[in-house]
Assembly symmetry: C2
Homo-oligomer: 214 residues x 2
C-alpha cells in the first residue's frame, strides 16, 4: 500500500494536496497544528489531482453518481462545520489549481515564510469567498494582501523550472501510490483524507512516545 521508493524524513509529515479539493482546504487549516502537537513539521506538496486520476481511472467526487456527488457537496459543509471552519461551495467548481500551485512552488524557494500563508489565502479565496483561483491576476490580488512581489509571482506561473517541479511532484505522488487528496505520509505510512487526521495524530503520538523512550 506504500512504495518503498520514497520515505518522509523523520519528524516530518508530507502533505499532498490540490488547490481545487475542498477536503484539502479543511486539511490545510489543521495539519500544521496537528503535526506540531507531536513535534513534527509539515512539508506542503501541491499536486494536480487530475493527473493522478488519469493513473487511477477515478475522478472528482462531484462528477460521480449524482447521489454521491450531492452527498459530497453536503458533506464538505458538514465537515467544515464540524471542524469549526467557514465554507461555501464555489459557484465555479472544479477550478484548475496549477497556476496557484506554481506560485506556491516559487514562494517555497524564494520566500518560504510566505508560502503557507499564500496557500491558505488561496484556499480561503476559493472555499470561503467564492473566488477564482485560476486566473493569474486574481492570484496576484491574493498575493498583494500578503505583500508578495507581483512580478515574481506572475513569473513563477511561466517559469519552466517551477513547471517541472510541479510535474515532479505529481510523479512522486504517483510513485507513492497517492490516489486522492489530501494525502499525508509519515515515513512510508499513507493517510488519505481530511477525516484521517485523527489517525495521523494517533500515529505521530505513538512515534513521539517511542522516540522519547517511553
Amino acid at each position: 500500500m506504500t512504495s518503498t521508493a520514497a520515505r518522509t524524513p523523520d519528524r516530518q509529515v508530507d502533505f499532498y494536496f490540490d488547490f481545487s479539493s475542498p477536503y484539502s482546504y479543511l486539511a490545510a487549516e489543521a495539519v500544521d497544528a496537528a503535526a506540531a502537537r507531536h513535534g513534527h513539521t509539515v512539508n506542503w506538496i501541491p499536486i494536480m489531482l487530475g493527473v493522478i486520476f488519469k493513473s487511477t481511472g477515478s475522478g472528482p467526487l462531484t462528477e460521480q453518481h449524482p447521489w454521491r456527488a450531492s452527498y459530497a457537496v453536503m458533506d464538505f459543509k458538514r465537515s467544515a462545520d464540524m471542524a469549526g471552519l467557514p465554507f461555501a461551495f464555489p459557484s465555479r467548481f472544479p477550478q484548475a489549481g496549477h497556476n496557484a500551485a506554481r506560485v506556491l512552488l516559487g514562494l517555497q524557494k524564494t520566500a518560504p515564510h510566505k508560502a503557507k500563508p499564500f496557500a491558505l489565502a488561496v484556499f480561503r479565496n476559493l472555499f470561503v469567498h467564492d473566488g477564482d483561483i485560476q486566473q493569474a491576476d486574481n492570484l496576484a490580488a491574493i498575493g498583494k494582501t500578503l505583500d508578495l512581489d507581483e512580478a515574481a509571482l506572475l513569473a513563477s506561473i511561466q517559469d519552466p523550472v517551477v513547471k517541472s517541479q510541479l510535474v515532479a511532484n505529481n510523479e512522486a505522488a504517483t510513485r507513492r501510490q497517492v490516489f486522492g487528496a489530501p494525502t499525508f505520509f509519515v515515513g512510508s505510512e499513507q493517510f488519505w483524507g481530511h477525516d484521517r487526521l485523527p489517525h495521523l495524530e494517533r500515529r505521530l503520538a505513538e512515534l513521539a512516545a517511542t522516540q522519547t523512550g517511553r
Copy 2:
C-alpha cells in the same frame, strides 16, 4: 441529497448496513451507544450493497484501483485499532450477506431481543474470526451460541415473506439514495460511513438540545 419519500421517526436512527462490509461491522459495534448518548434508538436495516451498486455503477472498495484497494484493507484495520475493536481481514472476501440478512429479518419479527446480538455475532464471526457467513449451517452454528431455534433460523433463509422484506429494504434504501454502507439517517438527513459517526452524534446532540428547549 435525501429523498422526501422517507423519513426516520423522531428519536430513531435508521442504520443501513451490509454484513459483508468491514466499515458496517465497525459501525454496528458503536451505533447503539452513540445514539443512546442522545436519547435515540437505532433501527437496524440489513441491505444488499451489491444491489445498491447496480443502481450507482459502483463496486466494493477491494475491487477498485489496486492502490485504493490495498489502502482500504489497511484502513479497515487502522480504523478498527482507532476504535479499539478487534479486526482481521477475512481470507474469503467479499462474502454474500443475504442469508445472514434473512435470518436477522426473521429474528426482528419473532425474537427481536436476539436480533442485534445475532447481527453482532455474524459480524464478529466474519471480521474477527475469519468465519464463513454465507453458508446456512455456519449461520446455524452462530445461532446456537445465542440459543436460537435452529429450525426457525434455517426456515427464515427460505421464507418468501422474509425474502420480500430484504428486497423491500433494498428498494427503500434506493429511494433514500443510499450509495454505500454503513449509512445512517436522522429524519431525512443522511450520514455515510463509520467515520461519520461523530457527525451523526453532533446532529443528535443538536436535536436533543432543541427538544429539551435549551
